[in-house]
């Protein structure tokens, strides 16, 4: 299991990092924290790198290093990093260029074995997609800012499961809203649901939606299986059945106190490109964190 956590600044990425690391801890996943910095125009790329080289001689960090340092301090404070590493503080000099504008710092984790910090520059979707494709992450965790404009590209082009930590309040108790139907994506979503529920000790609402009054046997079975699996894992779960438009019902039920978990659409990419998909529309319209499982 590999997790990628995308952060952008100290001000806005606190919840993302916190949620991400808690999930990583439960899943014992090897975890990478990435900061994607400003895109540099090609005309000025070398001028900027010349300026960055000069900054080193002034002991000024290049842009983005301060964000990594902040993430490092978070890891240190919450004991994700081994104590022997900690006494030296942020190991700035172990940030090594690994080519194509990507710099990497490998850390010795305590609870999680492989822990690394990465700095990249460019368009965020391009950079995340490249990172996920080259290093095969299973889950990408990202903050909610700019969610609506990025939602489509995230869902469509990033190969891993995606958790958008949107409007997340660390002090609030969240329930999990798990969308259940007979699609192949559901069983994977249920597995993630169990893990996340264990990580945050949440209750789970299993929501099955039909367009009309009639709920098919497949729907009922899927819901029953999910409930059984939750119980077996010691997670408190309750099944609900609703009639209506799936996207509207999910968004409405979720409100602001749920984390939505649903399977990715199995439609062809071309249909999704032109028509959109349920997960995409949920992500566009909801006001709470969403996890889309691929």
């Amino acid at each position: 299991m590999k997790i990628l956590i995308a952060i952008s600044s100290k001000e806005y990425s606190g919840p993302t990092l916190d949620v991400g690391m808690n999930i990583a801890r439960i899943l014992k996943a090897s975890t990478t924290i990435v900061d994607v910095g400003q895109k540099i125009s090609e005309f000025s790329m070398k001028d900027v790198s010349l300026a960055n080289e000069l900054m080193e001689s002034w002991d000024i960090d290049r842009p983005g290093v301060d964000v990594l340092e902040w993430a490092y301090k978070y890891l240190e404070k919450n004991q994700f990093i081994d104590s022997q590493d900690m006494c030296d503080g942020f190991p700035k000099h172990s940030l090594v260029d690994s080519g194509a504008g990507r710099a990497e710092m490998l850390l010795q984790g305590s609870t999680i074995e492989d822990l690394s910090l990465i700095l990249r520059n460019g368009e965020i979707i391009d950079e995340l997609r490249d990172e996920v494709q080259t290093h095969e992450y299973d889950l990408t965790i990202i903050g909610g800012s700019g969610k609506r404009s990025m939602a489509h590209d995230l869902v469509q082009y990033i190969d891993s499961s995606i958790f958008v930590v949107n409007n997340f309040d660390l002090d609030q108790d969240y329930k999990i809203l798990l969308a259940v139907d007979d699609s192949p994506g559901t069983s994977k979503a249920v597995k993630y649901g169990v893990r996340v529920a264990q990580a945050f000790n949440n209750k789970v609402d299993l929501l099955t939606i039909s367009n009309d009054e009639h709920f098919g046997d497949e729907y009922r079975h899927a819901s029953a299986r999910a409930v059984k699996m939750m119980r077996r894992s010691g997670v408190e779960a309750e099944a609900h059945f609703k009639v209506g438009d799936p996207v509207d019902s999910i968004v409405e039920t979720a409100g602001q106190d749920h984390i939505i978990i649903m399977g990715a659409s199995t439609q062809s990419p071309i249909a999704k490109f032109f028509l959109g998909s349920k997960p995409l529309n949920v992500m566009r319209n909801c006001d709470c964190p969403v996890l889309i499982v691929k």
Partner: protein
């Protein structure tokens, strides 16, 4: 679907969305190719304009790397029959491209000498610790230096000085406070107004001089150029300082501890060493070469002579030059200048110039105003979307074909291409200060539009009242 996996289809879709401008430019060029040439435009000219369109779309959208755009220009010039392969090759390299190459290499050589700390100290010694004096000092030094050694060099050298002051001011550097905004913009805008001062201030000035002599329209010497533009530069220094100060007035009026820490920092690096003296001496040699020798051997060869001296005296490693020189930009300007020359030779530039004059004359009634409008306002706007040198390379031939005094029109266009105040991509210095993450894109417009309007008006006055006296 059709035996393709969902993943490969999704990859293709991703490619299409990222490359939509490339695809669009391809489709547009094919459709324009089959439209019959309008009256007064030769078939070669028609095809040259197709290449110009493709180039503009690809540079602005950045959908393929710049060196690829450069190569595409060369390929299209040959395939569309605009010129022979040898003809394209010989128009690809010129003294202007030598100059751009030499100037980028000189930048690496100079930046490597550690002169930035000396520079910081001398600025601070003059300005003292009042913030407004530091802002004025930054604008002045950036403008004066960049007029001789180019804005990209000065931008890179001044950035750490500003960041050191900001960091030692005890503020949280990730907050875009007015102090960091005002200091960084004083560098960027100072460099921008400075770059008009001499031919060596920016590659685009040399491109224009190259066009003027290539088209047989006149020669401008280094000192002549300075007579035209330096007064404007000097007038703009206090204007820029005032505009950035009043747009982003910082709450810290005195930077006592920052200045003191900066002095301590520089003191630790010790006295100037022999290499640094030698580096300055070589630059002075280059500078006098530009003034006295360039009429005979060209600005580019003088710049390259300087690079030769830096390398052979061991002041800079070839590895450093190789790594930090933007070869892609050199290729692109080579190709863009080649395209500019083809625009002139195929008559495409003349045709566009005539059409523009014809249409705009209805609007403005006076041909002199139309010329001024295109040379100043259109150049000024395009320079903010494209890079400033690419703007001159593409617009230059058209403007020179619009009539009027070619030398004045040429210098006016070059000066207007320095009005790159409004966007991040407009100039290398704008990008350098943006890369710190301390400045948001909207800040450029806040101060930039005032400066843009004032610069346009100032250029209008200077070109109407002062320039004719020089002729």
């Amino acid at each position: 679907m059709f035996g393709f996996s969902a993943r490969s289809i999704s990859n293709v879709l991703f490619w299409v969305t990222r490359k939509k401008w490339l695809i669009l430019s391809f489709l547009l060029s094919i459709s324009f190719f089959y439209i019959p040439s309008p009256d007064g435009l030769s078939p070669e000219g028609h095809r040259t304009l197709i290449i110009v369109g493709v180039t503009l779309i690809l540079i602005i959208s950045e959908s393929i790397p710049l060196p690829a755009v450069a190569i595409l220009i060369l390929i299209m010039e040959v395939i569309l029959g605009v010129d022979t392969a040898d003809g394209v090759a010989s128009s690809f390299m010129s003294d202007a491209v030598f100059f751009i190459m030499g100037s980028l290499m000189l930048a690496v050589s100079l930046v490597n000498q550690g002169l930035d700390k000396r520079l910081a100290l001398s600025v601070i010694n003059v300005t003292g610790n009042k913030t407004w004096r530091i802002v004025l000092g930054f604008v002045t030094i950036s403008a004066l230096l960049s007029s001789f050694i180019g804005e990209h060099t000065v931008g890179a050298m001044m950035l750490p000085v500003a960041l050191a002051l900001i960091r030692n001011a005890g503020l949280d550097t990730d907050k875009a406070t007015n102090l960091s905004t005002v200091l960084l913009f004083s560098i960027a805008y100072g460099c921008a107004i400075g770059s008009i001062g001499t031919p060596s201030g920016g590659g685009r000035n040399v491109i224009m001089i190259g066009y003027l002599s290539e088209f047989g329209m006149g020669t401008v010497s280094y000192l002549d150029w300075m007579k035209f533009t330096y007064p404007m530069l000097l007038i703009e220094i206090p204007i820029v300082a005032a505009i950035v100060w009043y747009t982003f007035t910082p709450s810290q009026k005195i930077m006592d501890s920052s200045v003191r820490k900066l002095k301590v920092k520089v003191a630790k690096t010790g006295e100037m060493n022999a290499n640094q003296y030698m580096a300055i001496a070589i630059f002075l040699v280059v500078f006098f070469g530009w003034i006295f020798l360039s009429p005979f051997i060209g600005l580019g060869i003088v710049a390259l002579s300087g690079v030769f001296l830096y390398i052979s005296f061991g002041l800079v490693d070839w590895q450093d030059i190789n790594k930090n020189t933007n070869w892609g930009v050199i290729l692109l300007f080579g190709a863009a200048i080649s395209l500019g020359i083809q625009m002139r030779e195929t008559g495409a530039a003349l045709w566009v110039a005539e059409q523009t004059l014809q249409y705009l004359e209805h609007v403005f009634q006076d041909i002199a105003i139309v010329r001024w409008f295109v040379a100043v306002v259109v150049t000024g706007i395009l320079t903010n979307l494209l890079s400033n040198a690419a703007t001159v390379a593409v617009l230059g031939p058209i403007i020179l074909d619009m009539g009027g005094n070619a030398i004045l029109m040429g210098i006016m266009t070059s000066v207007a291409s320095a009005f790159a105040y409004l966007t991040v991509v407009a100039s290398p210095t704008c990008m350098i200060i943006h890369s710190t993450g301390l400045i948001s894109s909207s800040d450029y417009f806040k101060a930039g539009w005032k400066l843009f309007v004032i610069s346009v008006l100032l250029l209008l006055m200077i070109s109407t009242f002062y320039w004719p006296m020089l002729l």
